[in-house]
């Protein structure tokens, strides 16, 4: 139907591309202008997305064929269903405020033009994934998201760790994409189309979906959403500026995988779902515990993100993609707030990121502290806050589905969440300042605190209360349905688990981490446990593979090539023949290559002449 709505989508999608191109080509030295251009674009997109969200519930579709390879149509088009509307709004709204935050955060940065061009190109990429109506277009923007993330992580490219982290993120994501593209090829082979709507019809008509289809498509999700075993890039990605961590590695990019899985959930066989559920739940528990052994505030938050992604993955695996999407939306708000809050703290403490050197910031940065704590409580799933609705719904779903192992893992994850949240609050905001930087901390400017207040207070807290009221019910079918399935009962298992975790975990952590000053209490008591939770072994494993296996294999093959093909073939046969000819003609080929070549041409011409005459 409405063509006017599809033109709205054109604007939403291509505005940021235009802004990025302008900034990259002309505003490299006019950083301030680029910053405001990019931010204004982001707010316009948020407005347009809100308009789309409220403009009705019918699917918006639009399609054009870019080209054809044989019988394969390379299509480009939009499919805006209820999920897409919600995702568009969440992404663009959160992103707009993060843009505003960045204006303040990056004020001193010389490469602001590049940074904001990167943010805009990222917006273009992620919005493309959201609106795409076919697998190939999803893949295109999927790759572009990988690229924008690469550029933004590499923002401080003159630092070795940023160079390494950006490379790692891109390559690990590409490992996932390898499976993804094979899955796309398999869909095309089985169903003859890449279009979501057509695929859905085929899937509904088919008896069973082959496991391989879902398993391969899932690879893309494992990479982009940082699921085990491709999760290793996410924590290193904190090398980028903090707003990037907030935007990409908390709110949107990692959510793209969840969104995509929900979009193709009809292609996932039960075996695939089961795997996602188990791996998601166990990763949620493990990552939550690992967050306890990080001293860098951003790394700790990154592990927290991993844990929540595990929970979302688990929801998809349990057959509740709508719950996963809802948690994605809620998580986007409070995790963005947490990261921006961390950014504000880092900015206030003169770029100190070590939590052990902070402390007592509640008084020095009250606004930051208030929003951070509010978002933390939402993260801990305090009843009636945003995180509670979505997370407890998933835990409840696990229990009611009879998946007790998953329920146990998720409960452990809930406890871990409360533990690391309490630890973070205790170390950063309470107690005394543990360094010069923290002692002289200052509150951040309005461009940074306003987004915190809007995202944090309005959405993590009030948004939770008003989740059904503020957004028109019709366009929010996924959330409405999810909310219908859960109600607050004191005797519901998820509520019991949640309240116990909160009491034991959160308050326990507050007390426990107050016992030692300037050091981590767990590390003091049990260095061995702390070391295990630091979670370096997986990186070690990959490093071993790259250094010991891959590089040696590459060098060995290069050596073989040199020895066998180049050495034997060229020096023996290749040089042997000319040497014989050279001997016969009485001339050394090594004296003048051009002459040698001319000889060959003459021989060739003779051959040609002979051929023509003989025939």
């Amino acid at each position: 139907m409405p063509s006017d709505l599809s033109s709205l989508v054109h604007w939403i999608l291509f505005l940021p591309l235009g802004a990025a191109a302008l900034s990259a080509l002309f505003l490299r030295r006019a950083g301030g202008l680029a910053a405001w251009l990019s931010t204004a674009t982001a707010f316009i997109i948020a407005g347009l997305s809100l308009k789309l969200l409220t403009a009705g519930t019918a699917d918006v579709t639009w399609h054009v064929e870019l080209a054809k390879f044989g019988g394969i149509s390379l299509g480009f088009g939009y499919l805006i269903d209820a999920n897409a509307r919600l995702m568009l709004f969440v992404v663009s709204f959160v992103a707009a405020w993060i843009h505003l935050f960045s204006v303040g955060y990056m004020k001193e940065d010389a490469a602001r033009g590049r940074f904001f061009a990167g943010l805009s190109i990222f917006m273009f990429s992620i919005l493309g994934i959201v609106v795409a109506d076919n697998l190939l277009m999803t893949f295109i923007f999927w790759e572009l998201v990988g690229f924008s993330s690469y550029m933004l992580i590499a923002h401080y490219f003159d630092k070795d760790y940023a160079a390494a982290a950006s490379k790692k993120a891109f390559i690990v994501n590409r490992v996932g994409d390898l499976g993804f593209i094979l899955g796309i090829a398999m869909c095309l082979s089985l169903y003859g189309t890449l279009d979501f709507t057509a695929l859905k019809d085929h899937a509904a008509g088919a008896k069973a979906i082959p496991v391989a289809v879902g398993a391969l498509l899932m690879c893309g999700f494992l990479g982009k959403s940082a699921q085990f075993p491709l999760h290793v890039w996410l924590t290193d990605a904190m090398a980028g500026p903090t707003p990037v961590s907030a935007l990409i590695h908390a709110a949107t990019m990692v959510a793209a995988g969840v969104y995509f899985m929900a979009r193709v959930s009809f292609l996932l066989a039960p075996e695939v779902l089961h795997f996602i559920a188990i791996s998601g739940a166990s990763m949620a528990a493990l990552a939550g515990l690992c967050a306890l052994a990080q001293t860098d505030i951003k790394k700790s938050l990154a592990y927290s993100t991993l844990a929540h992604l595990g929970i979302m993955g688990c929801a998809i695996g349990l057959g509740h993609p709508e719950l996963a999407l809802m948690h994605m939306a809620m998580h986007a708000f409070f995790k963005a707030t947490l990261f921006l809050g961390a950014g504000s703290v880092i900015h206030g403490c003169h770029h100190e990121q070590d939590m052990l050197k902070m402390g007592g910031l509640l008084k020095k940065m009250p606004l930051t502290a208030a929003t951070f704590i509010a978002a933390t409580l939402s993260n801990c799933a305090v009843p009636f806050l945003a995180g509670w609705y979505s997370k407890d719904a998933i835990i409840e779903a696990a229990f009611h589905g009879g998946h007790l192992a998953i329920f146990a893992f998720l409960s452990l994850a809930a406890l871990a969440t409360c533990l690391y949240s309490g630890r973070m609050i205790r170390l950063v905001f309470l107690g005394e300042a543990n360094s010069e930087e923290a002692a002289h901390a200052h509150e951040s400017p309005w461009t940074m605190t306003l987004p915190l207040v809007v995202l944090g207070l309005v959405y993590s807290v009030a948004g939770g209360f008003l989740a059904h009221a503020i957004i028109p019910a019709g366009s929010l079918q996924p959330i409405g349905k999810a909310l219908g399935e859960i109600a607050f009962h004191l005797d519901a298992p998820s509520t019991i688990v949640g309240l116990i975790s909160l009491a034991v975990g959160f308050f326990g952590a507050l007390k426990f981490y107050g016992t030692v000053r300037g050091a981590d209490a767990l590390q003091v008591i049990s260095p061995r446990v702390y070391h295990v939770l630091e979670h370096r072994w997986m990186d070690g494993l990959y490093r071993w593979y790259v250094d010991a296996v891959q590089r040696r294999l590459a060098e060995f093959i290069a050596f073989l090539d040199l020895l066998l093909i180049n050495g034997v073939a060229v020096r023996w046969i290749g040089a042997g023949v000319p040497a014989v000819l050279g001997y016969l003609t009485g001339r050394s080929f090594h004296r003048g290559q051009t002459r040698a070549y001319a000889l060959w041409i003459v021989l060739g011409s003779l051959f040609l002449a002979w051929f023509l005459i003989a025939r």
């Binding site: 490299r28 044989g70 572009l144 160079a163 590409r174 590459a554 290559q593 023509l612």
Partner: protein
Amino acid sequence: MDTFPATLLALAITAPIIVGLILLAGRDLPRSFASGFAFGGFAIPAVLGPWLLILWSNPSTTGQQFQSEGFWGFGFALNGLSAPLLAMTSLVGLAAGIKALTQEVEGRNTYLGLILFMLGGTLGVFGTNHLVGFYFFHEFALIPTFILTLFWGGEGRRPAAMQMAIYLTAGAMASLAGILIAIDVSGVDIGGATFVKVADGLQNAQQLPAATGALVLFGLGTLASLFPFHSWAAPGYSAAPTPVSMLHAGALKKFGLYGIILLGLSSLDITGGSLGTWFLWFAVANVLLIGLICLAQRDLKQLLSWSSVAHMGPIFLGIWVCGVSGKADGLDAAAFLMVAHGLSCAALFLLANAVRARAGTYRLDELGGLATRTPVLAALFIAATMASIGLPGFGNFWGEVGIFLALRAQPLWLQALVASTVVISAAYALRAVASTFFGPASEALEKRFASAPFGDLGWAERFAAFILLGASLTIGFVPSLITKSVNPVAAGVTTYSQHNAKAPAKAAPAAPAKR
């Protein structure tokens, strides 16, 4: 047919050759005069090439599928496959020419003249429909390539030029034998041996010597660096002066692929029987083994040279799968990648040379942190790298992904081996970017900057890089620019190849390698 496009085509091919002759004859021409002339020789085809492509894609000008008879009595002609290749060559030629004009070399006029010859010959390869003309123009372009590498090349140029000469001559001889046998069997008079006539003749031919397909495939494959006939390529490109590397690796090399498609795939059943099996494994080796060799490189230009060999793998596989599956999609994608690879590969050679001009070395362990001093160079290099590893937005993406999709009916392990290129190429390309541009500036670089301060990329080189990357972005955003022209030819070639594969009277009965 309208003679106007034919005139344009003839002008595009002859202009660089005539200017080249003038420069060779007038070795003492004043510098500014020679520069202006040479620029004209590079620029005229660059205007005409894309123009011809647009004319060709226009439905009112085309309408003939595989055939492209008589744009001009002289034998110049375009077809849907060669039109995009000619346009690509002309743009690579302009960029290479701009690079050459900024270089300070001994015997500058001769140097420029020879590069113009090379360009004219390469344009001629794609601008003729006659098999002998096709072969002739290739040799015409190769001779200056050897001379340029030998006299103006870099480190290790003598053995590299020697090796290249032997390989390419051997390959050319083998393919010539195959071509001549094919013409003979087809019963077409050699004076009128166009691709179409020979293919038509071979459709009805009674028997074809079994080795013909192998001679053409491996002969032309050598020129396109098919494994294991690739050893000349990496040292050859590395040792050649930059404009020559750009033209050779980007454009001239596509000669082999073009011939394999129009002669081998269409008429010689190269994907059937045991020959097809060998073809498959060699192409996979191009992707995998050469990809791994790329990972072991320690030198930026060597890496680019090797990766340009590795990127031929998917193209070969696209051609292979077209013959095996009887569907045109693989060929469409392969043709797309041929064009896109020419652009990205030339851009990388151009920019890598700019790195060397500043840092004084291609060695990755001595480079580092260049992005701080030369942000524009870094940005363009990263863009070219991203193009070459198939980032969407650049043309290479469509080619690579199209080939993966075309392989969809093949066994999964084979698809996985081929698609692993997305990981391998990202690994070596990003490693090169990181060790050249990222991290703190290396000691060697700091010392060099202190003794001989250098600036960011100059305007001429920026312009050259913009042409190449701009073209790649254009076909990345509007892929129909290429596919509209290629689709009919790909469909035609596929029909011919299927007819041949199924013909009962063939010497090698065709059981397409369904593995």
